[in-house]
Symmetry: C3
Subunit: 452 residues, 3 copies
Amino acid sequence: MSLSRLKEPAAPPSSHFQNQEQGEELLRLIGRLYPICRSLTGSGVRETLAILRDYIPLALHSVRSGTPVFDWTVPPEWNLRDAYIKNSSGAKVVDWRNCNLHVLSYSAPVKRTVSLSELKRHAFTLPERPDWIPYRTSYYKENWGFCLSERQLSSLPEEDYEVVIDSSLQPGELNYGEFFIPGRTDAEILVSTHICHPSLANDNLSGVALAAFLAASLQREPRRYSYRFLFTPGCIGTIAWLSLNEKRVDKIHHGLIVACVGDAGKIHYKKSRRGDAEIDRAVAQVLKDCDAPHEIRDFSPYGYDERQFCSPGFNLPVGCFMRTPHGEFAEYHTSADNLDFIKGECLMDSLNKCLAVFDVLENNHTYVNQNPKCEPQLGRRGLYGSIGGDAQGKTNELAMLWVLNYSDGRNSLLDIAAKSGLSFALLETAAARLLDAGLLAAGENDAGAKLI
Amino acid sequence: MSLSRLKEPAAPPSSHFQNQEQGEELLRLIGRLYPICRSLTGSGVRETLAILRDYIPLALHSVRSGTPVFDWTVPPEWNLRDAYIKNSSGAKVVDWRNCNLHVLSYSAPVKRTVSLSELKRHAFTLPERPDWIPYRTSYYKENWGFCLSERQLSSLPEEDYEVVIDSSLQPGELNYGEFFIPGRTDAEILVSTHICHPSLANDNLSGVALAAFLAASLQREPRRYSYRFLFTPGCIGTIAWLSLNEKRVDKIHHGLIVACVGDAGKIHYKKSRRGDAEIDRAVAQVLKDCDAPHEIRDFSPYGYDERQFCSPGFNLPVGCFMRTPHGEFAEYHTSADNLDFIKGECLMDSLNKCLAVFDVLENNHTYVNQNPKCEPQLGRRGLYGSIGGDAQGKTNELAMLWVLNYSDGRNSLLDIAAKSGLSFALLETAAARLLDAGLLAAGENDAGAKLI
Amino acid sequence: MSLSRLKEPAAPPSSHFQNQEQGEELLRLIGRLYPICRSLTGSGVRETLAILRDYIPLALHSVRSGTPVFDWTVPPEWNLRDAYIKNSSGAKVVDWRNCNLHVLSYSAPVKRTVSLSELKRHAFTLPERPDWIPYRTSYYKENWGFCLSERQLSSLPEEDYEVVIDSSLQPGELNYGEFFIPGRTDAEILVSTHICHPSLANDNLSGVALAAFLAASLQREPRRYSYRFLFTPGCIGTIAWLSLNEKRVDKIHHGLIVACVGDAGKIHYKKSRRGDAEIDRAVAQVLKDCDAPHEIRDFSPYGYDERQFCSPGFNLPVGCFMRTPHGEFAEYHTSADNLDFIKGECLMDSLNKCLAVFDVLENNHTYVNQNPKCEPQLGRRGLYGSIGGDAQGKTNELAMLWVLNYSDGRNSLLDIAAKSGLSFALLETAAARLLDAGLLAAGENDAGAKLI
C-alpha cells in the first residue's frame, strides 16, 4: 500500500525565502545568539535553546553528567563566570568579556600569578593571522588556557601576570533541543545541527538559524514525511541522542547535517556513507537543476555529526550540507568567523536549497504505468500536441514519455531524472498530469512507513 | 542443446552490395514509391505494398477502422482525390498534384471560399526556409490545411480563394505488409520500417527500400535465425501489429528499426531500452570494426517505432538504425527531403552495415574450451607458428588464444571481442579453426529457441 | 576462525634490499648463470638449478620425456656439445662457444657441407639491428639453424661451408626446481619464473635471481602465508607442474610470475584473468603508495606462464610482474639483452616492490569494529589529540577513523585504502593501534586455509 499523497501538485522549489527581509530575520536570530558563551554543556546551551523557542516549540532534553552513552560518558557541566589576564599594573590585557573565544573551552578554574613564559605555555595564537583569535577546546583532558591574537601576545612585556578563569566543572547536565513535526507517515527526515560553538557565526550559528527557519517553515502544513530537528552539542550530544533513541533510528529515511551555510562560497554536499542513498541523489538533482556552482563529495569518516549517524553500526542515510566546508575557509575556528563573514542572501540560498531537496523527497514517487504495452494515446487526453508545438510544450511531452516508459515500478522520478537528464520539476509535473489522466498509479513507496 | 550451425564459416560482412548498379536499383525502387500520396491509411499504402511485392513476397494484412488496439483505435481510412487553392481569377495557386505535401495529412474535406486571412489560419509554411514546403499531419484531431512554401504564401494578394480538399475519412482499413523468412530455429530477428510518409525520400522511402532489399538478400539461403520484416504505418501500424501478435513477441530475439538511411551523414544507432542487448553490442561491434565515423546513443522514449517495441510492457531488444537522425537534418519533414537528398552509395553502405550486423548475430556463439587446463598445443595441430611469423599470422594466433581463454561457457564471441579489442571477424575465424580442431564445443546458445 | 597473526606490526615495506652490495650479489648470481646454455631441457637447466641451490634449498624434480602433461608431451632432452660454421679455409666463422645464442634452440644434429644459399635458409639474423644476434627456438618442430648478426652473415663470401651442430635429442627428462616455505597456514603465495633461456640477462636471469633472493629473504622468519617458488622451463615446465599438482592448486591464494625485472624501465604489472584478485589490488596499492611511474595492464592470454595459471580451467589469481614487458624493449630476445642491459639498483627495486606486495598481502586483514555504534572515544585511549596537532598526527587519526568506519566485516585494509586514498602502511599502523586498544577484532580471513 502506498501512503503517499500522490496527486497533490508539488510546491515550486525555492519559493519560500526570497525577500531581503527574511534574510535579515535570519541574521537577527544569529545576532541574538552570537554573544552567548556556548560549549558542550552549561548555561550558554540552555540560553541558546531558550532563544530558539521564540521561533519553534523545541522540546528540551537533558542528560545527567556521568551518564554512559555508548563508548562515552556525559562530561561534567562547564560554566564560566569570568576570565581575564591582568598585568602587574592590574590592567586587564585580555578580557573574556570582550570575546568569549579568549578562554579555552572547558578550561579548569585557575587563579594564579604566572610569569610570561608560563603564560605562553597556556596561550594559543595564530601566528599566520596575527590579528585573529583562535577557537580552541580541551573537552576531555583537563587543562586551562587563553586564546588571543598573536599581536596581543607578542606585545606583552616580560613581567608577572594574574590569570583568572572563574569556571566550574561540576556534575550537571547536557542539554539539547528536539522538534518533531508529524507528517502523514512516521517515515522521518532528520535535520541535525551543532549548537556547541561560542561566538562563531558560520560554524555554526548559520546552521542553527537555518535549521530553526526550516523547521518553522515546514510546520506550516502537513507533509508526507515527518521531520525531526535536532539542536545538539556536537559529537557528545549526537552520541547521547543516538544512545537514547537507538530503537527508533530506523524511522530516519533521509537526513541532513547542516553546518557552515552562511558564507559566500559555493555549496558542498558530502554524501552519506551509503553513497547512493535517496538523500544523496535528491541533493545532487537539486544542485544540478538549479545550475549553480557546487561540489559533491564522497563520504569520509570525519567532519560533523554525520560521523556518528554514518558509523557502521547505524549507517543511516545522512549527508552533510555546507557551503564552504569546515577547515577550508581561512576564518574557520577564529574570531574572523564573525557576523560580517555571513550574508543574508547566502543563508536564504542555503535554506531554499534545503527546502528544494525536501520538496524532491516529498515528491519522489515510484509509479506504475497503467498502459505499459505501447504508448498510451496522449492526444485524446489533451496531453499531446494540444499543448502546442512550442519548445516548452515539446519538453513537457518528452517528460511524459520518459515518465511513462520508465514507470515500470522500479524507477522513481529521481531515477528517471538521472536517466533522462530532465529536471525533477518537469518530471514531477508530467507525473501529476499522467496521474490525473489515470495513466499512472502509485507503486511501492515508503517501504515500512506507517500512517500517523 | 545448441541449435546453431557452428561449423559453417561466416560470410564476409559487407559482401553483398558493392556495385553501383545495386545502388541504382535501390534508387529505382525509391523513385517508384516517391510520387505516391501515402498516409496512415488509404490507397497510397496499398499501392506502396503492391510495388514492394515486386521485390519480396509480402503478406498483406488489414485491420478494420474502429478496431481497438491497446489504448488506441484504428482510425477511419483517409483518401484524397484532389486538392487545390484557386485565386479569384480561377487559377490554381497551389495544386496538390504538383506535390503531395501540399495537403495536411488526414485533412477533412473542404470546399469553400475564404479570405486570405482565413486561408492563412489553415496554411503551414517554413519562414526560415522560404522555398521549402513543410510536411504536416493532423491524424487524430479533425482539421484541414495546406502546406506551402513561405514564398508562395507571401506572394498571395489580399483576395478571396477557393479551397478544395476532396478527401474522404470513412470506415475502411489499416494496411501493413509482413514477410517472414524461416530460419533453422524460430528465434527471430525483426526489421521494421514505417511506410506512412508521402513524398519524403530519406524519411522514409530509404528505410522502406533498404528493408525490402535486405529481405530479398536474406531469403536466398537458410540462416540460423528466422527473420521477420514489417512494413507498417508509423505508430498506429506498429501498435496494431503488436496488439495482434502480443503472444508471440517473445520470439523476437533481436530487432532493428530502420529509418533515414539514405543521406550522406554518419551512422547513428540508438540502443534498445535494455541498453546492453545483444543487438546493441552487435551494432557497436560492427561500427567499431569497420572504423567509420558513427555515433551510438542511449535509448530515449521518442523517435520511431522503437517507442512501441521498447514500451515497458514489451521491453524488446529493438534498436534504431539511422544515418542522420530525424529532426537533425534541415531537410527533415520538408519538400527538400527529395530524391536528390539521398545517395545510392549511402543506401548501399547502410544496407551492408545491417547485413554485417546480422552476420555477427548469426555467428555470435558461446563456446566451451574442451582443453581448459593450460593451453592446448596449437603447434601440433598446425594452428601455431606454421602459419608463419608474419603480423597477420601472429594476430590469428592471438585471436585463437583469446577465444580459448575466454570460452568458458559464459562469454560469447561478442563478449570476447569487447575484452580483446580484436575484430569480430578475426575471432569468428579463430573459433571456426578451433572448432575444426576439436578444441571448442558449442555452449548454450539460442536459449528457448525451437528447431523449425 | 581467523588464523592470522593480527597483532604483529608489519615490517616496513622496501626495507630489505637497500645497499649497493646486495645489488652486486644479485648481479653476481646472474653473472654465474649467464654463460650456461639453457633450453627447455638438458644439462644447462640442471647446472642452473645446482647453482641456485647455493642460495636456497631447492627441491629438484624431473619428468621423463614422453610423459603426457595435459594436452602436451614432455619433449626429448636436448643437449649440445659443440656447434660452428667453418668456411672452406677451415676457419670458424661462427662459433657457438663465443655465444650460445648462435644455435637455434632444440636444433637437430647436423654435420654437412652446404652452399651459402643453403646456409642462408638456416640462418636467422636481425637486419634492422646488424650487430645483434637473435635468439630463436624450434622446440616442437624438428629443424636446425644458426643465429648470427646480419653483419656476420652478409660478410660471408659465396663458397661452401661446413656446418656442425653436435646436439642430441634423446629420451631424458625435464627438470625444474621447487622451494616451499611453510607459513602459519597452508594458504600459499606462488612465485614462478622461467629458467629456459640461454645467455639472456633480463629475460630471464633477472627473474631467476630475483625469485631466488626473494625466497632467501622470506625463509628467514615465519609468515602468515606459505610461499612456493617455482623455477621451471617456460610453458612445458609450468604445464608439467600444473599437471602433477592439479589437486592442490586451490592452495594458491595469490601468485606472481616474475620476468624482465632488471632493466631500467618502469614497472609493468599485468593483472590476473580475474582482474580484481587480491594480488591485483595489492600490487596496484604498492605501486600507488611508492609513487613511482608504473603501468597496470589488463590480463591478456599471451605473455609468460600466467597463460597457464590463468587458463580457464584453473583461473588462478596469478599476475605478472615486470619492468619493461617482453617484446617492448629493443634488446628483447637478442644478444644485446646482456649483462650490461641490467642494473643492480633496478633489480633491487623490483625485489623490494615484490617484498612490499607480500607485506601487503601478509597484513591485509578484514577487521570488525567492536564499537560500531558512534565513534569510540579515541581520546581517553591516548589515540587522539594526545598524538599532537601536527600534520602526521592528524593523518594518523584520520587513518584510524577510516579503519573504524569501514571495518564492518566486509572491507579489508586494501578495500579501505582504495576508498580512503590513504597508504596501506598508514592504515596498517592504524589497525594495529586499534587492535591493541581492543577496538577491532579479526574478521573472516584466510577462508579455507588450515593451520600448518
